[in-house]
Symmetry: C2
Subunit: 698 residues, 2 copies
Amino acid sequence: MELISIIIVLSGIIALFFAGYLIFKIRRESSGTEKMQEISNAIREGAIAFLNSENKVLVVFVGVVTAILLAVSFIPDSGMYWGTALAFLIGAILSMLSGNIGMRIATMANAKTAQGAKTSVNKGLSIAFSSGAVMGISVVGLGVLGVFGMFLLFSEVLGYAVNVTTNILFGFGFGASSVALFARVGGGIYTKSADVGADLVGKVEENIPEDDPRNPAVIADLVGDNVGDVAGMGADLYESYVESIIAPMALAAVAGGFALQTYGSNAIILPLLISAIGIFASILGMFFVRTGKKSNVYSAMRNGLFASTILVAIFAGVATWYLLDGNMGPYLAILAGLIAGIVIGLNTEYFASEKQKPVKGIAEAAKTGPATVIIQGLVTGMMSTVIPVISVVVAMILSYYFAEFYGVAIAAVGMLSVLGISLATDCYGPVADNAAGIAEMSGMGQEVRERAESLDAVGNTTAAMGKGFAIGSAAITALALISTFIVSLSLHYSPDQILSFLSLGSTTSPYLVAGIFLGAMLPFVFIALTMGAVGKAAYSMVEEVRYQFKEFHLLTDPNSKPDYKRCVSISTKRALREMIIPGLLAVISPIIIGVVFGLIGPKGAGLAGLGGLLIGSIATGFLLAIFLANAGGAWDNAKKYIEAGNLGGKGSPAHKATVIGDTVGDPCKDTSGPSLNILIKLMSVVTLVFLPLFIIFG
Amino acid sequence: MELISIIIVLSGIIALFFAGYLIFKIRRESSGTEKMQEISNAIREGAIAFLNSENKVLVVFVGVVTAILLAVSFIPDSGMYWGTALAFLIGAILSMLSGNIGMRIATMANAKTAQGAKTSVNKGLSIAFSSGAVMGISVVGLGVLGVFGMFLLFSEVLGYAVNVTTNILFGFGFGASSVALFARVGGGIYTKSADVGADLVGKVEENIPEDDPRNPAVIADLVGDNVGDVAGMGADLYESYVESIIAPMALAAVAGGFALQTYGSNAIILPLLISAIGIFASILGMFFVRTGKKSNVYSAMRNGLFASTILVAIFAGVATWYLLDGNMGPYLAILAGLIAGIVIGLNTEYFASEKQKPVKGIAEAAKTGPATVIIQGLVTGMMSTVIPVISVVVAMILSYYFAEFYGVAIAAVGMLSVLGISLATDCYGPVADNAAGIAEMSGMGQEVRERAESLDAVGNTTAAMGKGFAIGSAAITALALISTFIVSLSLHYSPDQILSFLSLGSTTSPYLVAGIFLGAMLPFVFIALTMGAVGKAAYSMVEEVRYQFKEFHLLTDPNSKPDYKRCVSISTKRALREMIIPGLLAVISPIIIGVVFGLIGPKGAGLAGLGGLLIGSIATGFLLAIFLANAGGAWDNAKKYIEAGNLGGKGSPAHKATVIGDTVGDPCKDTSGPSLNILIKLMSVVTLVFLPLFIIFG
C-alpha cells in the first residue's frame, strides 16, 4: 500500500513539475513583434477579465453552497458530514486553479505559436501543443492529487471510516461540477455570443474579413475561444476525471458490497493507481508527439494518443494483477471503457470530417439552398448517435459482466485515464485558432498565415474528436455515478427494498417512469435556455458593434480605434447572467424530484424518481449532445469544404447556404451541446451529495 | 351486461349510419364547374392510385406477418394462439377500410367545399367539416365494433378464457399498427416529397405561384395532403384508439391482478363503454359545430369539441358508477387523461399560433436572417415540450394513484374518447387546403379564393392542435401498453421475479439501462431515416418537374399540359420504397432486444431490455415528436405572420428567411414527427404480441 501511495503522489507531482517545465520552455519563445504582443495582451486581458468576473460570481455561489452544506451537516440525523463542505470548497478551488493555469498559458502561447509558425509549421505545432499539454497535465495532476489528498485527509488523518470518506469525496466532485457549470455554460454562451456578434455585423453587414482588427468584437471573439474551448473544456473534463475516480472508490468502499467482498479493500485504491498510470503514459505519449518531425501534424498527435492508450492498456493490467491478486475482471472493464472512448472519438471524426460522406452530403445539399443544408445536417447529426450509443451500451454490459457495478464505474476511469494527452490535443486547437487570428490581425504575411491556418484546421478536427470524447466520458461518468447511487442505497435499505424502489414493476413504478420522462425533458429545456441565451447575448453584441462602427467611424477613419474592452465586458456580463437559470435548473431539479416525490408518493418514490431522472437525463442528454456536436461540426466543415474550392467555392450560392448552416451549428456544438455534459454529471453528483436527505424524505 | 353490450354495439352502428348520412348529404352538394371537377378527379385518382399501390405492398406485408403469426402459434409451447393471426388480419383490414372511407370522402368533398365557399364561408365550413366528420366517426365506429366483435368472437363464440382473448386482441392492435405504419410513414414521405418538389422548382426556380396548374407536381402536392393528413392521421389515431381500448381490457383480465380483484370483471368492459359514450358525445358535439351560424369557424369547432368533452366527463362518471359499483378511481383516471389531452392541445396551439410570443419571436429573428430563424425555431420547439411532459407525468401519477396500472391504461381511453370529433376537426384541414388549391387552379375569383383560404388558415390551427393531440395520445397509449406488459408478466413470474427483472438495482440492471439508451436512440434514427427519405424522394421529384417544364414547354406553350400522373407515381413509388427500412426497424427492434438480451444475459435480461427499450423510446419519441411538430408549426406560422404584412411582408428578406424556416419545418412536422407516434406504439404492441416468445428466451 505504501508503494502504491508513493506512485500515486509521485504521478501528481511529476505532472505538475512537467507542466512547470513546459511553461518554462514556452516562456522562452519569442512573442514576435510589438503588434503581435499587443494583440496577445488584449486577448489575455480579456480572458483574465472574464475569469475575474466569473470568479466573483463563483465565490458567492461556492460560499453559499458551502454554507448550506455546513448548515445541513449540523442538523442532527441529517446523515451529512461537515467534511463534505470542505471537500466541496477544495474541489472548486482546484478546478478554478487548473482552469486558470490552462487559460493563462493558452493566452500566453498564442502569439508565440504565430511567431513559431514563421520558422516552421513544426515549431508552431510544438509551441501550441505544449501549451495544450500544460492544461492537460495540470488537470490530471491536480485531479489525482486532489482526490488522493482528500482521501488521506479524511481516512488517515481524521480517521473517518472509508465509506464515509468516499461519501465526503462526492463533495469534492460537486465542487468541481459547480466550477465546470460556470466555465462550460457561461464560457459557451460567451464564446458564441462574441463569435456570432462579430460575424453578423463584420462579415455579413460590413463585409470585412474574419479577425479584422477594425471589428470591435474581434478580441472578444478570440477571448471566447480561450474561455469556451480551453477553460470550459478543461473544467468539464476535470469534473469527469475526478468524479470517474471517486465513483468506483465509493462503490468499492460500500460495506458488504460486491467489490469489497470480491477484490478486498485494494479495489478502493485501484482507480487512483490506474489514473496515475494514465498520467505517466500521457507524459510519455507527449514526447511521441514532440519528436514527430514530419509535417503531418494530425497523425503526430493521433500517434501520441494511441501510444499512451497502449501504455495504459498494458500497465493497467499489471496494476490490477498486483492489487487485486489476479482478479482481472475490473481490468477488462477498464479496457472496455478505453476502447469505447476511442470508438466514440473516431465516430465523431468520421461524421465531422471533410473527407467523408456525411460532410460532403451536406455540401451537396447546399446546391438546393440553405433549407436542405439544415435538413441534411439534422439527418447527419441524428444518424451519428448510433455508434456512440452502441459503444456505451456494449461497454456497460461488458463491464457489468466483468465486475458488476464496480466494473461500470471503473470503465469510466479507463476511458478517462489518457485524459492528460487527449486534453492536450483538444486545447491545442484554440491556441492555434488564436495564432491564426493574431497572424491575420498583425499582418504577418501570406505564408505565416497559411501555416497558422493549417495548424488551426487540424485543431478543428482534434477539437471535434475532443468534443466526442468529452461527451462520451460525461455519459460514462454519469453512469458510474448512478451505479454508485444504486449501490450506496444498500447502506440504508434491504436488497428487496432497493429492488422494489427502483423497479418498473412496483408501486413506485409511476415515479420511476415520471423521473425518466422529466429527466429526458431537462436536456431539451437546457438546450433551449442556453441557445436562447446565445441569441440574446449576441443581440446585445450586435448592437454594440453597430454602435461603435458608427460612432467611431471605424471603417472610414484609419486613425480611429475600436473599444475592444466594451465588447469583452458585454460578453462577460451577459454570459454570467444568462447562465443562472440553466445552472439552477441542473442543481435544483434532483433536489425537487427527490423531496417532492418522496413526500407525495409511497416509500421509495423519491429514490425511484431520482433514479429515473438520472437515467432519463443521461440517455437523452448523451444523444442530444452527440447530435448537436456532430451536426454542428459537420455544418462547419461543409462550409470549409466549399471554401476549399468545391461546388463553386467561396462566395457561391452554395457557400452562402453553408454559412447559414454553420451559424446554426455554432451554438449547437459550442454552447448547448457541451453544456449537456455538465447537466448530466452535475445532477448525478448532486444526487449523491444529498442522498442522506433524500433517504430521510423517502 | 346485456344492456352494456347493446349500448356498445349500438354506438358503433349509429356511428356508421351517421357517417353514411353525412356522405349522402355531401354527395348532394354541387361539385362546381367542369374544370373544378376535373381537378378534383385528378386528386381523387392520384389518392386512390397511392392507396392501391400502398395496398399492394400492404397485402404482401400483412400476408407474411399473418403467416408468421400462424406458424409460430403452431409451434408447441410457443404460448401463442392462431387467433392472434386472425385478429391481426381483421385489424389491418378495418384500419385500411377506415382510411379508404376517409380519403375517398375527403377527395370528394374538396371541390364541393370550394363550390360551397362561393355561397358563404359557413357553407364551405359545413361541407369540409362534414367530410372530416365522416372520417372521425368511421374510425371510432369501426374501432369499437372491431374490438368488441373480436372480443365476443373469441370469448363468447369460441369460448376462450377472457385473458387469452384480450391477449389475442393485441393482434388486432398490431394489425392496425401495421397499416398505420404504411399510412403515416409512407404518407408522410409522400406528402412532403411532393410539396418540397413542387415548391423548389415551381416557386423558387420558375417563380410561379403555389398551386399553379402548369406545375406538374401540383396534383401530387394536393394528393399528398390527403395521403398524409387524412389517411395517415386517420390510421395513426385508429391505432391509438383501438390499442388504448385493448390495453385496459387486457390489464383487467389478468387473473389475480389489481383491477379484477378490486373492480370485478366489469372492469374489462368499461373501456368499451367509455368509448361508446365518447361516440355519442362526439356526434352530439358535431351538431353543435354545424349549428354555429356565426362566421368564426375556429371557435365553432372548439365549442363542439368542448361540448363533447363535457358530455363524456359527465356520462363516463355515470357509467363507471354503474359498472364498478361506485368505485370511482378509474373515473378519476379517465378525467386525468381527458384533461391532459386538452392541455397538450392548448399548448400546441399556443406555440404554433401567430398571435402568441413564440411565433412572433421567430418572425422577429428573421430580421437577422435565416440562421436566427432556425435557431429560434429550435429553441421554441424544445421549450414547447415542458407542458406536455408535465401533463403526461401528472396524469400518469394521478391515474396510478386512483387505480394503479389499470388507471394509467384507462386514462388513455379518457384522452381518446372524444376522438370522433377531434379527428373531424383535424381532417377538416386538408379538405379546406385542397379546396383553396382547387379555387386557385380553376380560377374561381378573388372572393371565393379568400374564403377558401380563411377556411384553410383555420385548418392549419386545428391541424396543429390535432397533431399535439395525436402525439399525446400516442404517448399515453404506449404507456398503457407498457403497463399491460408489466402486469401481464404476473401470469408467468412471481411478484419478486418481476420486481427484480425490471429493477435498476438488480443483476438485469445493465440490460434495463441499455434498453433505455437504445430506446432513446431509435427515435433519432427514425427521424434521420424519414427526413433523409423526404430529401431523396423530393430530389427525384425535382428532376421530374424540371424535365417536364423543359420537354413539354409548360411555361411557354399555353396548349401544353403537364403529365400529373408521372409525378404522382414518383411520389408513390419513392414513399413506399423509403419507408421499408424505418418500418422494419420499428417491428424488429423489440424482437432483437428481447431475444438477444434474453440469450446473453441472466434470467429476465430480455424482459429488462424490452421494458427499457419501450420506456426509453416513449420518453424520447414523445419529446422529439412534440419538438418537431411545434417547431415545424411555429416556422410555418412565422412565415404566414410575415406574409400577413408584418415586418416587411411578402418578398422582404425577413420573409425569405422564414420561407427557409418553413421548408426545414415541413418534414419535421409532417413526416418525421408524426412517424414517431407510430414507432412508439408499434414497438409496444409488437412486444405484447410476441411476449410469449420473449418469456421463452428469458
